[in-house]
Structure formats: structure tokens, C-alpha cells
């Protein structure tokens, strides 16, 4: 066990300072404004500036467009990016899943230039998993891909393709054998989103984040863009999915977050910090400083217990816990501060420039991102508790309803 501060070498300390200074420079106010307006989780200037230094996927070797960072250096970069703004970096995380599959399963002659573009921040990839009527069952994909010689023809539509409008490629689940059992008839194809026949329609969520429906109409894709074998898509998918859902045994000497929901908890943590700052200045109806008010002290204490629970609960359980505690405490903190907690960014009197108001909206999405909490409870029931599966007519695997 070790929860100590990471002891940095002189070199790492210098790197940390360099990173911090560089990020402070590229995260200009219009980056935040742009994200606030678009909700895309992506900023081309930031991504390209990072990519130019090999800092977008800095753990990759230099020849793959990374910077050959050690685990400690990679962690420094992660935390410094979070210190700036985790929202803008969302597509960085989303891309990393298909990048791993592309690297593993595609012909290097095709894959390498694509991966380099991604590492350079000039391309991102999105996940074409869910479908409009698919619910949580991504293995039930109906988007059809038909092969004719070297070309695939793709028809159908995908839902919740977050980032499609700014991505170069989508990592698409296609149905290639409608007769086979559902897990055995799917193939993964990396589809260039500039292709003819692709139409992208925005879906706005009330946290301000944008996602998309993507329609595919006779879209032509060369067979070289296939990722893994024909009808072997389930295996290919599992690579990234296992990464996303992994129970998270720590392989990095404690340099990764223990809970999948740590990012969600940071939104709660930011709210707590803003409420605490506010309580140091605001006074109650009898003139008492709110930081001395037992109600404020207890509410912050209760939020802190939940925050600690959210970041300490391992793996997929942490994902459920983090969402639960964020939903509960975002509402409780809004109650605590009163009507001013309803005021958003850029309004007179809002707390933490709208952080409390934002957290309450954002919280709702966390119960759905990357699979609803119900889907994860089902996974926990089977894989942690070893409970038998429900014998539902279409059941085989419940997975990931909404992908980032």
C-alpha cells in the first residue's frame, strides 16, 4: 500500500513545470468559451499544440508520435490537463480505445499514418456503437455492411456517436452476417466520416454536451479499413471494452485512479470547494458566517464522505458509486446554497461561476455515460457477486448503452 506523494526526480519536476507553463499558455479563455458553446469535448488548437510535442498520447514512443513518457510522467500530464479542464480533453480519451484496436488489428501500412494523425492531434476517432433502438445491447447492432470485392457498402444509423461531427473516423460496429448468432455476425470497420453518404445530426444534452445521430446511406469503405477479421468484431471490441470496464487492478504502482468514476467525483469536488469558498464570505439570516454554520459544515462533511467513497470504490463499482454520489450531492449542495445555486455561468451572483448549477445538470448524464448504472449493476451482479443471469429472451451480454 502506498498513498504517499510521488517523489519526483529533478528531471520530472522540471517536466512538470514545463507542462504546467505550456498548458497555461494554450488553455486560453477562448478555449473554455469554445467548449461552453460547442460542448464537443475537443479543441483543434489545443489538440494540435499538444500533438506537436507528442504530448497528446505521451506514453507512446516518439516514433509513434508520442513522447516516450514514463508512467509517472504520463500521470503528471494527466493531472495537469485535468487541472486545466477535463471537458475539452474528452475526445482524447474516446480516441484512445479505437486507436488500441487499430494498432492491434490493422495492417501497419494503413494503420500507422492514421495513428500518427491521431497522435498529432489532427484526427480524432469516435465510437459507432449504439443504435437508435438498441438500448443497452450493442451486440444487437443492425447497421449493415455488405462486402463486394474490396469494398464494403454500409447502411443504417447509429445513436450517441459523441464527437462524430469533429472526428475523422468512427470505429463502427457493423452487422456482416445476419444469420449468425448476434455476437458472431459483427465486424468492426473504421469509417472515414468524410465519406459520401454519411449524415451527422446533432443531439444536445442538457449538460451542454453535444452528441450525434449518424446516418449511413450506401457508404463505401475499402476493405483495408476493416479492423480485425470478418465476423470477428466481438473479439476486437473486447479489447477496448475490457479496458473501459476493467476491474482495474492497478498495474502502475498506484499511478492510476482506482475508481472508474474519479472524473465524475472531481466535478463534485469542485462544487464542494466552491461552496466552501462561498461559505467563507457569505452570511446567514442572523449575520453569522456560513463557514461556522453547523448545517454548512455537516453538508460539506457528508459530501466529503461521499466524494471519498466515489474515488475509493474500485473499477466499475466506482463508476456506479461516483454517479450516485454526484447526483445526490449536486442536489444537496444546491439546496444548501439556496436559489443562487440555480444561477449558471456568467450571471450575477452565481456560485463558482455556475459550478453548482452545472454540476446538477452534468450529474444526470453520469448515470448514463458509457452504459447506464443499471447495465453496470448487472455486470457487478454477475462478475463480482457471481449471481446467475436473468433468463431474458434476448439476453447474452448487457453492455454499454451510451458510449462517449
Amino acid at each position: 500500500m502506498d498513498f504517499g506523494l510521488v517523489e519526483l526526480s529533478a528531471e520530472d519536476r522540471a517536466l512538470q513545470s514545463e507542462i504546467r507553463a505550456f498548458l497555461a499558455e494554450i488553455f486560453t479563455p477562448d478555449v473554455f468559451q469554445h467548449e461552453h458553446e460547442t460542448g464537443s469535448g475537443f479543441n483543434p488548437k489545443v489538440y494540435e499544440a499538444l500533438g506537436a510535442r507528442g504530448w497528446l498520447y505521451p506514453e507512446l514512443p516518439v516514433e509513434q508520435g508520442g513522447a516516450g513518457f514514463t508512467p509517472v510522467q504520463k500521470r503528471i500530464m494527466e493531472l495537469e490537463l485535468i487541472r486545466q479542464d477535463a471537458r475539452v480533453m474528452m475526445m482524447q480519451g474516446t480516441s484512445s480505445l479505437p486507436m488500441a484496436a487499430v494498432r492491434k488489428y490493422m495492417d501497419p501500412a494503413v494503420a500507422d499514418p492514421i495513428l500518427k494523425e491521431c497522435a498529432a492531434g489532427r484526427a480524432v476517432m469516435c465510437l459507432g456503437y449504439s443504435e437508435p433502438d438498441g438500448g443497452s445491447d450493442i451486440a444487437n447492432a443492425k447497421v449493415r455492411a455488405v462486402q463486394d470485392g474490396d469494398m464494403w457498402t454500409i447502411n443504417g444509423s447509429k445513436m450517441w456517436t459523441t464527437g462524430a461531427h469533429i472526428s475523422t473516423y468512427t470505429f463502427l460496429i457493423t452487422r456482416t452476417d445476419p444469420e449468425a448468432p448476434k455476437h458472431k455476425g459483427i465486424t468492426m470497420i473504421l469509417v472515414p466520416l468524410k465519406s459520401e453518404g454519411v449524415t451527422i445530426q446533432a443531439i444536445r444534452t442538457f449538460s451542454g454536451e453535444r452528441t450525434n445521430i449518424v446516418y449511413y446511406e450506401d457508404v463505401q469503405v475499402h476493405d483495408s479499413m476493416r479492423v480485425g477479421g470478418v465476423n470477428n468484431g466481438w473479439t476486437v471490441l473486447h479489447g477496448p471494452l475490457d479496458e473501459e470496464h476493467s476491474i482495474g487492478l492497478d498495474m502502475n504502482g498506484g499511478l492510476t485512479d482506482v475508481s472508474v468514476g474519479t472524473g465524475m467525483c472531481r466535478v463534485l469536488g469542485a462544487s464542494m470547494n466552491e461552496v466552501a469558498s462561498w461559505a467563507h464570505k457569505a452570511t446567514g439570516s442572523k449575520g453569522q458566517l456560513l463557514a461556522d454554520d453547523i448545517r454548512v459544515r455537516e453538508s460539506l462533511g457528508a459530501a466529503m464522505v461521499d466524494y471519498e467513497a466515489g474515488i475509493s470504490t474500485p473499477g466499475p463499482m466506482g463508476r456506479v458509486k461516483a454517479s450516485d454520489v454526484l447526483v445526490k450531492n449536486a442536489a444537496a449542495l444546491q439546496d444548501l446554497v439556496g436559489t443562487v445555486g440555480l444561477l449558471p455561468m456568467n450571471t450575477e451572483g452565481s456560485i463558482g461561476n455556475g459550478d453548482i448549477e452545472y454540476a446538477h445538470r452534468f450529474a444526470q448524464g453520469t448515470a448514463t455515460y458509457g452504459g447506464t448504472v443499471e447495465v453496470f449493476r448487472t455486470i457487478i451482479a454477475q462478475h463480482v457477486l457471481g449471481l446467475p443471469k436473468a433468463q431474458l429472451p434476448g439476453a447474452k451480454v448487457f453492455l454499454a448503452g451510451k458510449k462517449k
Binding site: G135, S136, D335, L336, P344, G349, E357, H360, E374
Partner: protein, 349 residues
């Protein structure tokens, strides 16, 4: 508290109340589709809807006959509030009604003109949430559309009047909130003072809590209905999701909370009408419980529609975003709990 008091528990509505419920239910479903609610964002006020509400007699029904009203009681007003909340109607029904009733209760000749304007809906009136302290602005519910705001200052109940309301401040619930700088308002009418002032002010707050509670009940019930329908048509793994206990059980809990919150709101309204000196904690209980019901109920209802429940296009988003705000405007739930607890403590003294 007396656990075996020989009281009636009769929730049966009188025929006339039933008619009010149906009439306003019809009115809001005809006149206030969700498209109108959406179009009125972010201010949360639609003049056309307000005019039609006035035509319905909404602004006069709750005034005493002496003030040209119909003398309806809190029970009827709460039934209207439930339908109002079901439609999340962009109109200052609650603020305006409780404030006009307070003005009428003051029975002050200086108010005749303003009261007439309030009765015919041409002048929207509102109620401050806390006593005025010099140097501090206040967020006033309906303050962006009201020209007259009733507020407690020292020992006095004062009506502050302006020619143009203060500017709207954007907020999660899309309600017409505004920061009022009361210091800058010179037109002031003292409408009551001392005990009478406190009595009128407390009553107005109690009425606001009860009507808000009823509105939150209607709001949550509509949101629940949207999701119940969704779960009856959506499949996963070859079954309707409504048949999964992980979906059905949370829905039953929302329905359970709504049923109780409705009964409490109506009971609290009845006490204000018929037995106002007993159970002084009931309006606060009604508000706290309805707020919990609405916060939890709209959140779960939105969530059980999965990703779709998180989209702006889905009407349920408008319900979720209002649930917390409407409750918050009517009272601070934590502070109310302590005053409710005081009644329990007093009952065993």
C-alpha cells in the same frame, strides 16, 4: 404529538372542487402545450397564456369577495396549482396569487388601484423570500415581470413599486427571477405593521409553500407519465423494459411519493382554510416532501429513459430542470426542517 387523535382523514373532493380540477386540467392541456413552455424559455413567461389565465378568472378566484374576487379557498387554489405544475406553465400563478391575497388581507385604501390591477392581471405582483437588509440585493421570484414586490422591512410589510421590473437573470428553472436592488426603489407603501404585518407575511409564505407543493406534485406526475409510456414501448434483451424490476420499482417509488405528496399538499391547504392555527408546520412539511418527491422523481424519470432522457429535445428535460428551482424558490428545505422539528418538540413539552 398525539398519535391517536380522533380526526377525520377525508380526502374526497367536493363537487365544486372536482369541477375546478377538470376545468383547469383542460385549460392547461389546451392552452399550454410543452411547445409553448419551450418557446417561453429562458424568461419563463408568456403574455398570451397569462391573458388567457386572467380570462379564466384565475387572478380573481382566490381574492375575497370584498376585493371583487370569488373567495375561493386554498383547497381550490392548490388544485389549480397542481394542474399549473403539470403543465410547467410559464406564468407567475403562485407568486401573483399569494401576493394579491396578502394585499387584499391588508385591507389598505392605498392599495385599491394596485389590487384592481392585480385582479385584472395587468399588474403582476410578487413576494420577496426574505426580509430586506440594506445593502444586499435579493433574488426575487417573478421579479423580472412584477412591478410590485411585497417585502418585510424591520417591523413593516412594505410594497415596493417600480415602473420597469429589474432585468431577468438566467436560471436553471427558466423562471422570471431578477435581482432586486430594494435600496434603489423609492416608491414604497407600508401596508401593515407589527403583528398584523407578521401575520400577513407568514400566511403568504405558507400559501406559497402549499401551492408550490401542489405544483411540484403535478410536475412530477407528468414527468412520471412520460417515462411510464416510454418503458411500455422500449425493449431490451427481448423484453419491455417496464417488466424489469430495476425499472418498474423506481417508477413505483415515484408514484408512491406523488400520492403522498398530493395528499399532504391538499391537507395543508385544508388546514389553512379551516383550521389555520393548528398544525402550523404542515405547509413546510408539504413543501419539503413535495420538493424531495420532485427532485428525486424527475431525476429518476429522466434517467429511466436512458440517454434520451438526457437530451434537450425530450420534454422530460424541462421537468427535471424546473423541479429543483421551483422548490428552492418557495423555501430553504434545511431551515424548514428545523422549524418542523420545533413543533415535534413543542408537542411533548
Amino acid at each position: 404529538m398525539d398519535l391517536v387523535e380522533l380526526r377525520r382523514n377525508d380526502y374526497t373532493l367536493e363537487e365544486v372542487s372536482q369541477e375546478v380540477l377538470v376545468a383547469f386540467g383542460d385549460f392547461f392541456s389546451d392552452q399550454c402545450p410543452t411547445s409553448l413552455v419551450r418557446a417561453s424559455q429562458p424568461l419563463g413567461f408568456d403574455q398570451g397564456l397569462w391573458d388567457r389565465l386572467v380570462e379564466m378568472g384565475t387572478t380573481t378566484m382566490g381574492l375575497p369577495e370584498s376585493a371583487g374576487g370569488d373567495g375561493a379557498g386554498m383547497v381550490e387554489l392548490a388544485l389549480v396549482a397542481e394542474e399549473f405544475g403539470r403543465a410547467i406553465a410559464p406564468a407567475p400563478y403562485i407568486e401573483h396569487i399569494v401576493t394579491s391575497r396578502a394585499l387584499a388581507a391588508a385591507d389598505n385604501p392605498a392599495l385599491v388601484e394596485i389590487l384592481a390591477g392585480a385582479a385584472d392581471g395587468s399588474r403582476i405582483v410578487a413576494l420577496a423570500s426574505a426580509p430586506i437588509t440594506p445593502g444586499a440585493k435579493q433574488l426575487v421570484p417573478a421579479g423580472a415581470i412584477a412591478k410590485d414586490v411585497l417585502a418585510f422591512v424591520g417591523e413593516d410589510l412594505v410594497l415596493f413599486s417600480v415602473d420597469t421590473p429589474f432585468p431577468h437573470v438566467a436560471n436553471q428553472g427558466s423562471t422570471p427571477l431578477a435581482w432586486w436592488d430594494f435600496d434603489s426603489v423609492s416608491q414604497r407603501t407600508v401596508i401593515a405593521t407589527g403583528d398584523e404585518a407578521l401575520r400577513i407575511y407568514t400566511r403568504a409564505h405558507d400559501e406559497r409553500m402549499v401551492l408550490t407543493a401542489a405544483a411540484l406534485v403535478g410536475m412530477t406526475e407528468y414527468a412520471l407519465g412520460l417515462t411510464v409510456e416510454f418503458t411500455k414501448t422500449r425493449e431490451t434483451m427481448g423484453v419491455l423494459i417496464a417488466t424489469l424490476q430495476g425499472v418498474a420499482f423506481p417508477l413505483t417509488d415515484i408514484a408512491t411519493n406523488i400520492a403522498g405528496a398530493r395528499n399532504i399538499a391538499r391537507k395543508a391547504a385544508w388546514y389553512l382554510d379551516f383550521s389555520p392555527d393548528e398544525r402550523p408546520e404542515l405547509p413546510a412539511i408539504a413543501l419539503v416532501y413535495a420538493s424531495q418527491t420532485a427532485t428525486h422523481g424527475t431525476q429518476q424519470a429522466a434517467h429511466l429513459q436512458g440517454g434520451l432522457g438526457f437530451t434537450v429535445e425530450n420534454d422530460i428535460s424541462m421537468y427535471f430542470l424546473r423541479a429543483k428551482g421551483w422548490g428552492s424558490i418557495a423555501g430553504d428545505p434545511n431551515a424548514l426542517l428545523a422549524t418542523i422539528g420545533d413543533q415535534v418538540l413543542a408537542s411533548v413539552k
